[in-house]
């Protein structure tokens, strides 16, 4: 356990509060969405200056050990940060950057890591070869798919299977065979055909580190979705309190009140799930217990965020279906992230495999 995690409960709570405060500077909760809208549907899908700001704030190195230039903070802090970014719909690829920073820190690579940590070069890890998986086959020539915000990448990390091990390569984006597809939230996915001849080998075996880092990315994504659904729900609550029909505010109708109460319960469950999973990881949970905690939170956040964001459209009626209104931004963000780093179904299956027997007791 790193030093930063050894503090008292009160010190941890303070550290998490500070992270939330600093997040508000970049992604103000309930702030206007003009910035987010301006970046939609064109390359690179995010603001490189904001990614650099995130780097300067130490967020990309939040999980990396202090010896590698990181902050060595816990998943409690990471999840608080991701939640705030979700509430602000920040399109900057922080979670993929943190994943890559974990790998490069483990590889003790001094060449690429500083620029990644500073947010000067976005360098996502191209690990995925098919949809809905957390497995890393590491095929040397298979296309790597669903690389988030790849249009803004200055390089890629490539895990490659060599015998029983997963070696790590760094590939420059210039000249790479990369295809870009737009995503619902205005960002993009890249498909990369790896060219190992051009790549630089930086580590012999990152298999175990990568598996853990993917779990942390899944949990952080669950936290980001928590922020998305909270903000989306706030929109609906404001609407229910002000919109008038039949001579009364529609929030006084019991059918809508009960639906809102049910959505609020899902928010409560999601927060409890994410925060208890983060606490378990920070307390040193390992192996199957660690995986089960992550899967529980991601399964909940994936399903609940889709439920909340689509119900929020319905609660608004026609205005909710317009692109001009923000409800759609949250819906689309949930569509992109619900299945990233594993769908609800994948995580339910994994939970059943990994959760310790008799955990019901």
């Amino acid at each position: 356990m790193s030093e930063a995690l050894a503090g008292t409960e009160a010190e941890r709570a303070e550290s998490i509060r500070m992270i939330r405060d600093s997040a508000a500077a970049v992604a103000p909760r309930g702030g206007d969405t003009r910035r987010v809208r301006a970046l939609r549907f064109k390359d690179p899908g995010f603001d490189p200056a904001v990614l650099r700001e995130m780097g300067a704030l130490g967020w990309i190195g939040l999980r990396a050990p202090e010896a590698a230039g990181g902050a060595g903070l816990g998943m409690g802090e990471m999840c608080a940060l991701a939640e705030e970014l979700g509430a602000g719909l920040a399109p900057e690829p922080l979670i993929p950057s943190v994943l890559s920073a974990t790998l490069l820190a483990a590889a003790e690579d001094r060449a690429a890591l500083p620029r990644l940590l500073a947010g000067e070069t976005y360098m996502p890890t191209a690990w995925q070869e098919r949809p809905d998986t957390l497995e890393v086959p590491g095929s040397p020539d298979a296309p790597r798919r669903f690389i988030p915000q790849a249009a803004g990448a200055g390089g890629f990390l490539l895990p490659v299977r060599e015998g029983g091990r997963i070696a790590l390569y760094v590939l420059d984006a210039a000249g790479a065979d990369l295809a870009i597809e737009r995503t619902q939230d205005g960002g993009n996915y890249g498909t990369l055909r790896p060219a190992l001849g051009e790549a630089r080998r930086v580590a012999d075996d990152v298999g175990a580190v990568l598996a853990r880092a993917l779990d942390e990315a899944a949990l952080a994504t669950a936290a980001y979705l928590l922020g998305v659904m909270e903000r989306s729900f706030d929109l609906a609550l404001n609407y229910l309190r002000t919109r008038q029909q039949f001579g009364r505010v529609i929030g006084s109708f019991q059918a809508l009140q009960h639906r809102a109460a049910d959505l609020r319960i899902q928010l409560g469950l999601t927060r409890a799930s994410v925060e208890s999973a983060a606490a378990a990881l920070d307390a040193g949970a390992e192996g199957a217990v660690r995986r089960a905690a992550v899967s529980r939170a991601k399964a909940r956040a994936a399903e609940a965020s889709l439920l909340v964001t689509r119900q929020v459209i319905q609660l608004h009626g026609g205005i909710g279906y317009t692109d001009e209104y923000d409800a759609g931004l949250y819906l689309r963000k949930a569509m992109v992230l619900a299945n990233q780093f594993g769908s609800a179904a994948l995580h339910r299956r994994r939970f059943m495999k990994d959760a310790p027997e008799g955990a019901e007791e």
């Binding site: 309190r241 505010v249 006084s252 009960h258 319960i265 409560g268 469950l269 959760a355 019901e360």
Partner: protein, 391 residues
């Protein structure tokens, strides 16, 4: 079986133990002292069957965990009380006739006169007074404040006329605490008073109601010119509603305890293994969802337990736990019935095995969304008092 370990010395101050030590201390005593034949009773037991446990707890001094020590209680902090209850639930301990312990005692401690405290509290602790609760009426259920059973002054007495219903285990009780209307002109919440009445007073009639478990757990209680001494009024006249409401306090968290759903889920798994449904992927996915719902409920419940541990009072948002827990309990028993085949029609457990009792649990789960404030009322509370939606 190995010999029971020597009983550890009773610590001076249970509150001074850390939570885990306290939990183990309680667990050890329960396991050594609880009558094994009463574990996980399929129905709520009557006084004649549960009093053995009532007296064991009384003898140990553990009957009233929430009462202050000066009144004969354990004086446990709220978070220790939660642990105490969790341990009782874990071992499948029966509820006793506990209305005096849980509801009336705290009310008298907070609002009663010195004379009422001296008279009533020791008789709850000794098991001499067994209480029942007279709140609901045929036309005052969810809208309890519209109750109409009235008490009219007549010299040193009130004269009570009217009817109560859903009075749990009234046939076992020798006293009843009542919400009665004492001012018909006032706004409905402001004309209600709190009265204590011996059940053998002339004019009281008790009629059991058979519920869907085919069990006489509830009663109707009729009042026909029942004379109650004025000294049996608790608190001030017309102020009974606020007192009764204040009592709901942190006990509401118990309705959201995951234990009921956890017990049912174990039953679902045993049943699925028995029927072979366990091998089907479709069932596996359904089971996984229920199990994850339970795990997240535990985490959610843990948030509220942590609040109590920090000494915070619980707000109206605790209603969310009650809604989710009771509906999860029902969803689990729904699944039981669906995989049970023709056994879903059995009156008793499958092959007489109490661990394979889908129909018993299915029926038991029905009232969970009704009692303690129906889930519709709880959703109103969340909407108005948590989300701030207009009335």
């Amino acid at each position: 079986m190995t010999a029971a370990p020597a009983a550890p010395a009773e610590p001076e101050d249970l509150n001074a133990l850390d939570d885990e030590a306290f939990r183990l201390h309680v667990r050890r005593w329960i396991e050594a002292n609880y009558p094994p034949e009463l574990r996980h009773p399929p129905k709520r037991l009557h006084w004649k069957d549960n009093k053995v446990w009532y007296f064991k707890l009384a003898e140990k001094g553990w009957l009233c965990p929430g009462w202050p020590k000066e009144h004969g209680g354990m004086g446990l902090s709220p978070s220790k009380q939660i642990i105490f209850t969790e341990e009782l639930e874990r071992w499948g301990c029966t509820r006793t006739n506990d209305h005096g312990i849980v509801l009336l005692g705290p009310l008298i401690i907070n609002y009663g006169t010195e004379e009422q405290k001296r008279f009533f509290l020791p008789k709850i602790l000794s098991g001499e007074h067994i209480w029942c609760q007279g709140y609901s009426e045929p036309n005052a259920g969810s809208d309890l404040a519209s109750l109409r059973t009235e008490a009219v002054e007549d010299g040193d007495h009130y004269v009570v006329n009217g009817q109560k219903i859903w009075t749990t285990l009234a046939m076992d009780a020798n006293w009843i605490f009542l919400l009665v209307r004492t001012d018909k002109q006032a706004k409905k919440q402001e004309g209600i008073s709190f009265l204590l009445v011996p059940m053998d007073t002339p004019g009281i009639t008790v009629k059991p109601i058979i519920n869907l478990e085919l069990h006489d757990e509830f009663c109707e209680v009729f009042f026909d010119n029942v004379r109650v001494p004025k000294k049996n009024l608790v608190g001030r006249i017309n102020k009974g509603w606020d007192m009764a409401k204040a009592l709901l306090g942190f006990e509401r968290i118990y309705l959201g305890s995951p234990r009921q759903s956890a017990y049912a889920l174990k039953g679902l798994r045993a049943l699925a293994e028995h029927t072979g449904a366990w091998e089907e992927p479709e069932f596996q996915d359904r089971y996984a969802r229920l199990r994850l719902d339970l795990e997240d409920l535990k985490a959610f419940y843990g948030v509220y337990v942590a609040k109590l541990r920090r000494g915070e009072t619980l707000g109206p948002d605790v209603s969310m736990l009650k809604i989710y827990q009771t509906e999860l309990f029902q969803r689990i028993t729904d699944a039981m019935l669906e995989i049970a085949g023709e056994n879903a029609g059995l009156l008793g457990p499958i092959e007489g095995n109490r661990d394979l009792n889908p129909t018993g649990l299915y029926i038991q789960a029905r009232p969970a969304t009704i009692y303690g404030g129906s889930n519709e009322i709880q959703r109103n509370i969340v909407a108005k008092n948590v989300l701030g939606l207009p009335g």
